[in-house]
């Protein structure tokens, strides 16, 4: 289907543009690593305490790495008015949103993987026993976060003080992602039976669906002049 090809093309374009220099991806990873590094001064991560604090730490690192990514992804379209260039095409504006959302998702997942790897190394914590459910949880939470972050990134790009505007918009709206993400991650890392934190996963799925659809429908208004 043509729409699928268009989304694919936009996704591929974002990847290709980023791949030339990989600046944004590298900054996201470095930022995440720095946060994990600083956290290690806050507490001595050993055993039970680690289990209590790691999920929160992880999601905070993910959150800020994501903000960086959304800002730069949106800014890249402002240069040479490329976003308008896409708006000139006879395509549904929501497809532009989907393409960029998938690219943001891709890069944030990579940065998150780097952060998780660093945490497992520096905190001597193995994610492997719970890797399946942990990965699913992180994916679902990231999906919801990116669903909102992509459209807010585009909105903020039209403001002055855009680096401030984006977190101010994103963090309150993403509260359910933080809560559900942290709760489900805690459950997954403890090895609790999935049924115990399944409702949190369902919340993440619901959040993602709602805001993917809503952002898809509303994106044309962000392009409008």
């Amino acid at each position: 289907m043509r729409n699928l090809r268009i989304v694919g093309a936009i996704f591929a374009k974002d990847l290709r543009v980023e791949w030339r220099h990989r600046e944004t991806l590298v900054s996201m990873c470095v930022f995440g690593l720095l946060m994990v590094f600083l956290f290690n001064f806050a507490f001595e991560p050993a055993g039970e305490e680690a289990l209590r604090l790691l999920p929160g730490l992880l999601w905070i690192a993910f959150a800020f790495a994501g903000i960086l990514g959304f800002n730069r992804s949106a800014a890249a379209e402002l240069e040479n008015s490329c976003l308008e260039g896409m708006a000139l095409a006879p395509i549904d504006p929501g497809l532009i949103y989907l393409g960029k959302m998938l690219a943001n998702l891709f890069f944030l997942l990579i940065a998150e993987a780097v952060v998780v790897f660093a945490v497992s190394l520096w905190y001597n914590f193995s994610f492997l026993p719970s890797i399946k459910w942990f990965a699913l949880t992180v994916f679902l939470g990231t999906l919801g976060y990116v669903a909102v972050g992509t459209i807010f990134g585009a909105v903020s790009a039209n403001t002055r003080m855009r680096e401030v505007m984006l977190p101010v918009l994103q963090f309150p709206v993403a509260v359910p992602v933080f809560i559900a993400g942290i709760e489900a991650t805690t459950g997954a890392l403890r090895g609790s039976p999935p049924a115990e934190y399944a409702s949190w996963l369902r919340l993440l799925i619901g959040f993602s669906v709602v805001f993917l659809v809503l952002s898809y429908l509303l994106f044309e208004y962000v392009l409008e002049e």
Partner: protein, 244 residues
């Protein structure tokens, strides 16, 4: 009536369009109609509203008042048919600096649903003499070359309406002459060319029709050869021409 039917086809029309930016009126009660085969110079002093006019025609901006019609249909409802028939060149290049001209065109080709895209890309690159620099990142190209790549992008989907906002800026003499020849030949092929430029002589050598804008208002819309002195005074006042 049959003749009216064919007139309605493929016309790009502004009806009583005004555009406000805050309290500033960039366009005031503009009525304009463009059809394939038209060759139009939009001229006026800085701030006259030329860019705003072209952006509204290109569907990038919405009028504050009034309507824009393509093919008899209001653009606000369904802009897609118009977009596939319009090519727009502006101050911004719409090109991704990290990608090559070829990659940029390929991307545009997918978005615009161009069939036989590789062939079309080669043709567009050839048209603007870009074949030998087509695979370098666009940001490495000079302003003039970037402008040519931007033109190639606008031509890629073979649009019926070419809207160009000061397309000659940054072009060297040879490229400008090349573009001039291209634009001059388009109306014969059934395309419409609507462009603005600072060089009145250059514009007059291409266009047959003049739309003179002053402070957002259309002061003259008609054949260039019959343009009254008043309109020409506006036009000449805006650029550097040999006459006083």
């Amino acid at each position: 009536m049959p003749s009216d039917e064919s007139r309605v086809e493929l016309a790009l029309e502004l009806l009583n369009v005004s555009k406000f930016f805050g309290d500033l009126a960039a366009l005031k009660e503009v009525h304009l109609r463009f059809e394939p085969g038209d060759s139009v110079l939009i001229y006026g002093p800085n701030g006259a509203g030329k860019t705003t006019l072209l952006r509204i025609l290109a569907t990038l901006a919405r009028p504050s008042e009034g309507r824009v019609f393509f093919n008899g249909r209001d653009l606000r409802r369904d802009p897609a048919p118009a977009k596939s028939r319009i090519g727009f060149v502006s101050h911004a290049t719409f090109l991704y600096g990290e990608l090559s001209a070829r990659e940029n065109l390929r991307f545009a080709g997918t978005l615009f649903g161009v069939s036989g895209v590789e062939k079309r890309i080669r043709e567009a690159l050839e048209l603007f003499a870009l074949l030998d620099r087509a695979d370098e990142p666009v940001r490495k190209l000079s302003r003039g070359l970037q402008q040519r790549a931007s033109l190639a992008r606008a031509f890629l989907h073979d649009p019926d309406f070419l809207l160009l906002d000061e397309p000659f800026t940054g072009l060297d003499a040879a490229s400008a002459e090349n573009l001039r020849a291209i634009l001059k030949g388009l109306p014969e092929r059934g395309k419409a060319v609507v462009f603005s430029t600072h060089d009145f002589e250059q514009g007059a050598s291409i266009a047959r029709r003049l739309v003179a804008l002053d402070r957002g208002r259309v002061k003259y819309d008609g054949p260039l050869s019959h343009a009254p002195l008043g309109a020409l005074r506006i036009a000449r006042g805006a650029g550097r021409t040999k006459d006083a």
